[in-house]
Symmetry: C2
Subunit: 634 residues, 2 copies
């Protein structure tokens, strides 16, 4: 554990875990009401956590926000919290089970008072959960602010955040652990795997799965990359060779996506997220509804009618998305028409890069919370799906135009190469190295200022927290996955015209690992860990891309002059053959996906065993109840 | 309960439930060893059931087999058995839970000593299960037969059956219940639904789901049938009208298959089979392996390495199936070639009916048990898949030939009509009415013989059992589903050339309900009930058929002269448009299937609640164990 500690108003020392920043001009009564809520016992509707206001001492200039609070908790509280959020841990017998406090000594790595049993990221996740579920009961407003209405079941933190008097909540870095992690992760150039378990310990499952997928994806592309090299070097342009490459490509991409499912299930099982049940998850903080009983768990929480959510989805979101899609395609067509009119011949190199800005509704979509999904996961998935469709069109519409309307394979190859190389360099500079350099400069300023007063010590807690509070917020894995998704598109959609793409993507990914790791450790504020059992809707997105790539590759092969030479008299016959081959490939793809089981057999058995033992325990419990004459309740 | 009862050798009266017929010439010691095994207490490796040899009294001629035994059990034994096989029943709070004896009074319809709580079909199922799981422990052979080797874990019944000294085991009809069921089922012509719950009570879930599907399928076809009538009456042959019909047809067939999943989930939930877990099922009797521990339940049962089963499947079964497929296609092509040579023009009406017999490997496949699947369900599914492929080719190859090679739409329409009408009439006569009439005649003979000696009473038990023993055995729902599957193929594959097909199929199905019901009640020996939560691999088969029908319909529309008239100059463009439309339809199909949830929301909630309560109970139990200092075992 970290050595730094602070004390709350009653003098209890505690490890600082999470920081809350309130608005500088917040009314005194609102701030102290919130702090009391956080400190209050759970029976009285509080969160039973420890809080301390960050001291202003050692602050050279007095410009810093005085309203930063540090939240922590006792070990006992955290262990109870772990049970509440349903953390799954390794049991003494090697199986994964929901943690229970009463049972704590039977869990594998539980020793003494449980210090070190929960990782810091888990502690922070628990505290975030407790803060998020601070819900109003009989209060009707935030004290001091008559316009901030509360109703039973409304998340207090959420209301204060949306009204702007609570600026942010973020978990604190632990310098010592961070140093150790970054050293093993990107500190030295090496060929070994990433330390996924350490990443998960520090940043949580969702990010660890992203890095796991990035690594897996890179290794999976290596065979395709090697196969692509001779095509480039020897300028093989014969029909059969391209067909062989394309077919290998299609089968390979199906296999790697199926195998990834198995690998992610193994990882998630070991991390305890595979056995955590979605239906028992707490609703996400932004979920609103009236306070009621959850039909599954029987716990009190906000409820929102299922039918109403469906109605909103189909009557509002779907038509809106379709409209945007239509407009965006329309703008794109106008743009292309203008371009063709203006330039005549269109052989101008990096064509795809200056693609039309089109309508960019993702920011609108990201902001809209009208569908009111209950779970964070399904909220994310619906959001991603909507934004994906636009990004797909934005990135690939121009390439599709070149490939299938202009039918200019040389230009297509040039565009692909330029896109891959420039986007690789630009992305990594804009995304990681530039922000890293800026952040470094800012850090140095704070450090030199401090060194003047305090010598060569570590930064004091106050300075450190303020430094982190000013860092940019990491907005989640969306943009990182999107980048991989588009790269996958470049590799698979046109693989038969540009076999070198896989090699470029492999090179890109190798540097991507380093730049993303740097970004997470040095540039952004530490994100809260998010439990995840798989990569969610991205799996579907990658699979859809690989289905689309069957169609595009078949079409490209059908269009090539080499293929046309095989059917000199009849174009009709050529098309029929291509369509037949495409159907066979698609059928084979679905067959493969159906045959490869999604979860490895040993883990299936472990999951089934847990389920069996649970059902047996339920029977036993009902028996005991029946024997004791307790009436059963639903 | 039934009023007839027999007594075992100790004088306990019991209801006759199941009959065992041994070979007439079986050695005395083997027969008595088996009966002792059945009667023996469970601790000593027996089944703890009641047995009585069927008396020969009242037998007018002495030709009957004397070795028929009647098996029954005490209520207590049956209730314990219900717990063992994992029957799921409605709990006091309306949820479905695994039955436990200790807890019996909390279940909804449990009254007094539990008489009537289990249906006769369930009792018979329990007894069959107990008999099937009579496994050898230290015996090395069947007494009296040195060549009938036994090894620990081998099913005794199975070994005796495969060696031919045990002829059959079958459940007995209950005349009174059967009369009531048949009256409400097919006794009167009416427009109401079938009594599915009663069918399930009498014949079990698997058959009830078949009749449920048959009924659902018929109702689902009604809109298509009505839409088809004007096409027939007014001879609409215009392009747009056929396209409209085909598109409606494709979307409709997707929707009805998805909705059926939801309906079957509802039915299976109410019958308690949806919550029964596959992984906890007992292995099927034919499953062989060495005695070991089930990794999930920890129970002692035969185990067989997973990898070895996979190996057998991929190295033996798959190549064999592919070889048969190749040969069968080859024979078919030769046949067609000869026919074309022989006849010149081929407009000869009922063309499809005299289809080549081809190779019929299903009997071989049905017999082969090399893959050694652990569960009855997965055994069935693999079998069905293999046989289906052959039947599909056998039935539709000639139609495909007429449609796409000969391109003779008029002949296709004629073949379809002839096939549908003749197969409907022939099938129902051959399958139900002829056997019914034969059975009726046999019954009458027995009755008149008895009436001579006993007057107008019910048949004595001995006569009745011998009568049932001589009836044909119902071989499972395979042939019935296959018939529906082929009909579905006729309706959907060529819907746009013969819109009347749906109407013919609806008419067929209406009579099919009656003939199948008659067959089950009067012609065949009563089958053992089989728990089923869905229609298994048939769902996949129907869905695959509906995907194939998108392809065939698009192709048929593309080939029609009306469509060709729209693209007078370019055949290429026509094909491209058709292919594009086909892809859009396929994508829409998959989207629809993805969007419609397979299990209705209320049942999802109920299942999740059970899971949640189980996990909670497991936590509590581990807590109690921890408190009591019991070491946890896996």
């Amino acid at each position: 554990m970290k050595s730094v500690s602070v004390s709350d108003s009653d003098g209890h020392a505690f490890t600082p875990l999470v920081a809350i920043e309130l608005a500088e001009d917040i009314k005194e009564e609102a701030a102290s009401w919130l702090m009391n809520k956080i400190k209050d016992k759970q029976q009285r509707g509080g969160a039973d956590l420890l809080v301390d206001q960050l001291s202003q001492e050692g602050q050279s200039d007095q410009k810093g926000n005085p309203n930063i609070f540090i939240v922590g908790a006792t070990w006992l509280r955290l262990l109870h919290g772990a049970e509440e959020v349903g953390l799954v841990k390794e049991f003494g017998d090697g199986s994964m089970r929901g943690f229970t406090y009463a049972n704590k000594d039977s869990f594998k790595s539980f020793e003494g008072d449980g210090d070190g049993f929960l990782s810091i990221a888990e502690c922070q996740y628990i505290i975030k959960h407790e803060l998020d579920t601070l819900r109003a009961k009989d209060e009707t407003q935030v004290p001091g602010y008559t316009q901030m209405k509360l109703y039973p079941g409304k998340s207090i933190i959420r209301r204060m955040q949306s009204k702007g008097i609570l600026l942010q909540i973020f978990p604190l870095h632990v310098k010592e652990n961070l140093k150790r992690l970054s050293l093993s992760w990107y500190g030295k150039v090496k060929l070994s795997h990433q330390p996924l378990d350490d990443i998960r310990q520090y940043f949580g499952e969702s990010l660890a799965l992203y890095f796991g997928f990035l690594e897996y994806f890179t290794f999976a592309l290596v065979p395709m990359a090697f196969l692509g090299i001779p095509y480039y070097l020897f300028d093989w342009e014969s029909y059969d060779k391209y067909v062989v490459f394309a077919v290998f490509n299609l089968v390979w991409s199906t296999v790697i996506l199926e195998v990834w499912k198995r690998r992610s299930a193994s990882l998630a099982y070991g991390w305890g997220t595979l056995s955590r049940k979605k239906a028992f998850e707490e609703p996400r903080p932004g979920f609103h509804g009236t306070l009621g009983l959850n039909p599954v768990t029987g716990r009190e929480e906000p409820v929102f009618p299922y039918a109403r959510r469906q109605l909103r989805m189909y009557l509002v979101s779907v038509p809106f998305v379709l409209l945007c899609l239509y407009l965006s395609l329309h703008v794109m067509m106008v743009y292309f028409d203008m371009e063709v009119l203006g330039s005549g011949a269109a052989r101008r190199g990096a064509h795809g890069l200056d693609r039309p800005a089109a309508l960019h509704p993702q920011h609108h979509l990201r902001g809209g919370h009208r569908e009111n999904h209950r779970l964070e996961s399904s909220h994310q998935n619906h959001l991603i799906l909507k934004v994906l469709v636009f990004n797909f069109l934005n990135c690939f519409a121009s390439l599709f135009y070149i490939a299938f309307v202009m039918q200019d394979i040389v230009l297509l190859r040039q565009s692909l190469a330029t896109l891959l190389i420039t986007s690789q360099i630009l992305n990594q500079i804009m995304e990681a190295f530039l922000p890293y350099w800026l952040q470094k400069r800012r850090n140095k300023k704070v450090h030199t200022r401090n060194r003047r007063t305090m010598g060569d010590q570590e930064l004091p807690l106050g300075e450190q927290v303020r430094l982190e509070a000013d860092m940019n917020t990491y907005l989640g894995t969306f943009d990182d996955y999107l980048e991989l998704f588009l790269l996958f598109g470049y590799v698979s959609l046109f693989s038969c015209v540009y076999p070198l793409a896989a090699l470029l993507v492999v090179l890109n990914n190798v540097t991507e690992v380093y730049s993303d790791a740097l970004k997470m450790c040095q540039v952004f504020k530490r994100p809260f860990s998010e439990p995840a059992a798989d990569i969610g809707v991205w799996q579907l997105a990658f699979e859809t891309m690989s289905v689309i790539s069957v169609v595009t590759n078949c079409a490209l092969i059908g269009m090539s002059p080499h293929t046309k030479a095989y059917f000199p008299e009849s174009e009709t016959q050529l098309i029929l053959v291509v369509v037949a081959v495409e159907h066979v490939l698609l059928a084979f793809k679905f067959f493969l996906a159906f045959v490869i089981p999604d979860i490895p057999k040993p883990i299936q058995i472990k999951l089934a065993r847990l389920e069996f033992q649970s059902l047996e325990a339920l029977k036993k419990r009902k028996m005991l109840e029946a024997a004791a004459g307790i009436p059963s309740k639903s």
